[in-house]
Subunit: 343 residues, 2 copies
């Protein structure tokens, strides 16, 4: 807001420039009458923008990659609920194929005067992406929080599920059921959560099944994080003799179940399948999906708390908070067919 | 934007006020160099707001009630995709319990300078709600489109699935399978889509099963549009001897299936269940859900086309476009148990 402009409003409203500034920045200790006079004066001067400035001080941008995997709307819903409860207005933006990019959405949100931004599974999770965009955002003094992804070059608070621990829990569950040929279906290698899942999975195979690091790589298949991706990865892993498949998302797990059935086999009688994300609808699938549930409520609460700390204090937290997923055992995992037929 | 302000920018940039106005309103026929000079001048004058005005000319608000029922993110996703493809940036806002209300979100979006608003299942669908809010929006010359709900007092384009026809299709499907005691589980009576479903269902029972209007009311149970609501309604309708239950949403249908199972009965062997919405994940439920699919792509395309017409021409369409749902027959409906045991 130009100082010239503020003096005009102050003159017209009969208050000091400091008071106008307080009102326009939505600071406390201004009487309702004064606030009204300032806004009326700003209005008369044609400054629709002034009111939007007041409001935008309470706007928080939330950028998510897509809405098809129900984990993203679920996460958005709890973050929005937490922000609203603290008096902020969340604005949700989704990347679209051939349309909105993360950078474009950031520019738009900054242009709209958001107080802060929450990124979910954004370019910060992509090891190939330039991190300069986040430095620029920090220079513009827009606090931001990064969910699901980590990059040590970015100085910001990070919040993630513990992918490494999750894979260990899944493999342990399957080994206890007698499975020895366990595969992992995950997305593209360039994503940090994928790298972490691969590391955790490989470590668990080495530790619990005595496989070599090289051997365990043969049980990992990279594909897309979708039903169709899971279907393709399921096929590839069944070809390698797997009796159990751990998937990087619930959507992939639904695709892996399809791949098993296409061969005339059953889940969990012949092949066990484990999902990741734990969206509520997975309790209704056929079979009900055993999955690693991201602690969505706890992650959302931490993201909002940390962002509001950043807004108040600046640099509240640097580094990462890891949240332990829960293994929710339902109907898609069972004792290994091969171990049963041997007994 | 105050005219005083525009003259300052024009003076500094060495161009006419008309040119400044063209740039700030993102109109064509301004050279890149001139556009740059105007924006630089606006910048120097401290007018961050100016740039946001340029961008906000391409912003479209999208207000949805919640993100838990997957039909809302699905609809949002295709509308966002269509808007992005036309060069607009969609901004998604969700109502939250105790937080963001529809009116609050509208104020925020208008303050941010959106070019138009798409309402999905908003207060326009609630017959008890005051329609004055939409008149005020029209007075402010913000074009808007209303999806899933109709109110003749509001002068705007409406887009809805044909609820009446959908109920007729569901009842016909169940009657053909031999069902005679068919119930309807729907949400609160104050919503237009509920009224229409009730009317369509009642008309179908009268026409296809020869029930009186009064009799057919006994087969209708109002509850909440959630899994738990569907569970409660399912219980009530099973108590009334229903062998088939049509639900107002897929989420309710999942709850109705639970109610059937709690009694030691099976779907579809003992009781048939039909959903409404047709979210993609319903192809993976146990049993795979027979449902009435809203033609989401067609509705989204029509909403975006109509809104862009409104932006260009004003008053492109008054009244309602109705979209015919599809009956997707899967595993939750089968021949009536009673008709089978009689034959």
């Amino acid at each position: 807001m130009a100082t010239a402009r503020i003096s005009e409003i102050a003159k017209r409203a009969g208050v000091s420039e400091a008071t106008v500034s307080r009102v326009l920045n939505n600071k406390p200790n201004v009487s309702a009458a004064t606030r009204q006079a300032v806004l009326a004066s700003a209005d008369v001067l044609g400054m629709e923008a002034a009111r939007s400035t007041v409001r935008s001080g309470r706007l928080i941008g939330l950028i998510i990659p897509e809405l098809s995997n129900p984990i993203f709307p679920a996460l958005a819903q709890v973050i929005e609920q937490a922000l609203s409860g603290r008096g902020y207005t969340p604005v949700l933006c989704t990347q679209t194929a051939g349309g909105s990019t993360e950078d474009g959405l950031v520019e738009m949100l900054v242009g709209q005067g958001v107080a802060g931004i929450v990124f979910v599974s954004g370019l910060h999770a992509n090891v190939d992406a330039d991190t300069g965009r986040y430095e620029k955002l920090a220079e513009r003094r827009i606090p931001f929080i990064l969910i699901n992804g980590f990059n040590e070059k970015i100085s910001a608070p990070f919040i993630s599920p513990d992918d490494h621990a999750a894979m260990s829990m899944a493999v342990q569950h399957l080994v206890q059921l007698g499975h020895e040929r366990i595969g992992l279906a995950v997305g593209q290698q360039r994503f940090v959560p994928v790298k972490r899942k691969v590391d955790g999975f490989s470590a668990a195979l080495q530790q619990l099944l005595g496989r070599s690091a090289e051997e365990s790589q043969k049980f990992i298949h990279h594909t897309l994080f979708t039903v169709e991706g899971g279907h393709a990865a399921g096929d590839a892993l069944l070809d390698r003799g797997c009796t159990a498949i751990v998937c990087g998302s619930d959507m992939m797990a639904l695709g892996a179940v399809r791949a098993v059935r296409e061969r005339g086999l059953s889940v969990p009688e012949h092949v066990s399948v484990v999902g990741f994300d734990g969206s509520p609808l997975m309790a209704f699938t056929e079979p009900k999906l055993t999955t690693l549930r991201q602690p969505v409520e706890a992650m959302a609460a931490a993201a909002v708390d940390t962002l509001l700390e950043e807004l108040k204090e600046g640099s509240a937290l640097r580094g990462e908070l890891l949240f332990h997923p829960e293994l929710v055992v339902r109907g898609s995992t069972a004792a290994s067919w091969t171990s049963r037929s041997l007994s």
